[in-house]
């Protein structure tokens, strides 16, 4: 039970600093769950990350799976709720406030600032996560190919997930 309370409190706090969404939060989650609290090992974390990527729906499923690992259904819901509620309540009250800002300068300033923060956090998250869970040249190559395909073509990400699964099943990654 103390574990669940720790998880709930930490994830709730993360919710309020997760600029750039849960993807930007992944290194922090990894650090907490694997290295600080030893809730799961690195391999399980990266497997959960993969399952969350392949599963349909919102991109916070890694959080759900960490909760699941700790204490089943209750843990899964607790973790998910923790990551959602603080930001949800914040946006509920903030939306009216922001919509009321008449001055376009202030509006734009806040918007631009948040965007640059989010970009930096998402990119550094990708760097850190790749260093932790990509093992070997082939994995990094596949990540690179993914980036190239997303930026240069209009492929749906699901095809790329399928490609990754196929290459992995052949034992290439």
């Amino acid at each position: 039970m103390p574990t669940l309370i720790t998880l709930f409190l930490k994830f709730s706090a993360f919710s309020l600093i997760a600029f750039g969404g849960v993807n930007a939060l992944l290194p922090v989650l990894l650090e907490l769950a694997v290295y600080q609290e030893h809730w799961l090992d690195l391999q399980t974390f990266s497997d959960y990350f993969a399952i969350a990527q392949a599963a349909p729906g919102p991109n916070f499923m890694t959080v759900t799976l960490i909760g699941w690992h700790i204490s089943g259904i209750l843990g899964a819901f607790m973790a998910t709720f923790a990551i959602i509620w603080p930001a949800g309540i914040l946006v509920f009250f903030l939306q009216r406030f922001i919509l009321k800002i008449q001055d376009p300068m202030r509006k734009k300033t806040v918007q631009y600032a948040a965007a640059t923060l989010a970009i930096g956090l998402v990119l550094s998250s990708a760097i850190e996560i790749s260093l932790q869970i990509n093992h070997g040249t082939m994995a990094f190559l596949l990540s690179g190919i993914t980036i190239a395909i997303v930026l240069l073509t209009r492929w749906h990400p699901l095809y790329l997930i399928g490609l990754g699964a196929l290459l992995g099943a052949c034992g290439l990654i």
Partner: protein
């Protein structure tokens, strides 16, 4: 509305669900849309986790997951890079991106510290960008 949800921290999808839901039916609408959006996927992902518990000993399953996670990393990086393209219209704002990456990935500062250090720079440059 999408703009608001992008500047608030937290899961973007559920934030958007709160915005849209509350527009229609206040607090109840917000709760309903968040639940509607996440309940189904949560059960699916738990189902996948159950399968994982049973079959993760198979080398092919491990391979598949390694492949998918490498793609997943690439997908996250490309989300960031796509957004980065827009920032080249005002190159000074790239400084914020660099500061964040150095603080987080090189000095390994906690997320709260990174946000604290980078947000004054971000606000200052954003103000200049908006002034143009």
């Amino acid at each position: 509305m999408l703009g608001i949800c992008q500047i608030v921290p937290g899961p973007n999808v559920t934030n958007l669900a709160v915005c849209v839901g509350s527009r229609f039916c206040g607090v109840r609408g917000a709760i309903a849309s968040v639940l509607g959006l996440s309940l189904g996927p949560i059960f699916i992902v738990i189902l996948l986790a159950l399968l994982y518990d049973h079959f993760s000993y198979l080398e092919s399953v491990r391979g598949i997951l390694r492949g998918i996670s490498a793609v997943g990393v690439g997908l996250i990086a490309s989300t960031g890079l796509k957004m980065l393209k827009d920032e080249f219209h005002y190159p000074p704002s790239l400084l914020v991106v660099v500061v964040v990456i150095i603080a987080a990935s090189y000095f390994h500062l906690g997320l709260a510290w990174v946000v604290l250090i980078a947000s004054p720079v971000a606000l200052f440059l954003a103000w200049h960008k908006a002034k143009r």
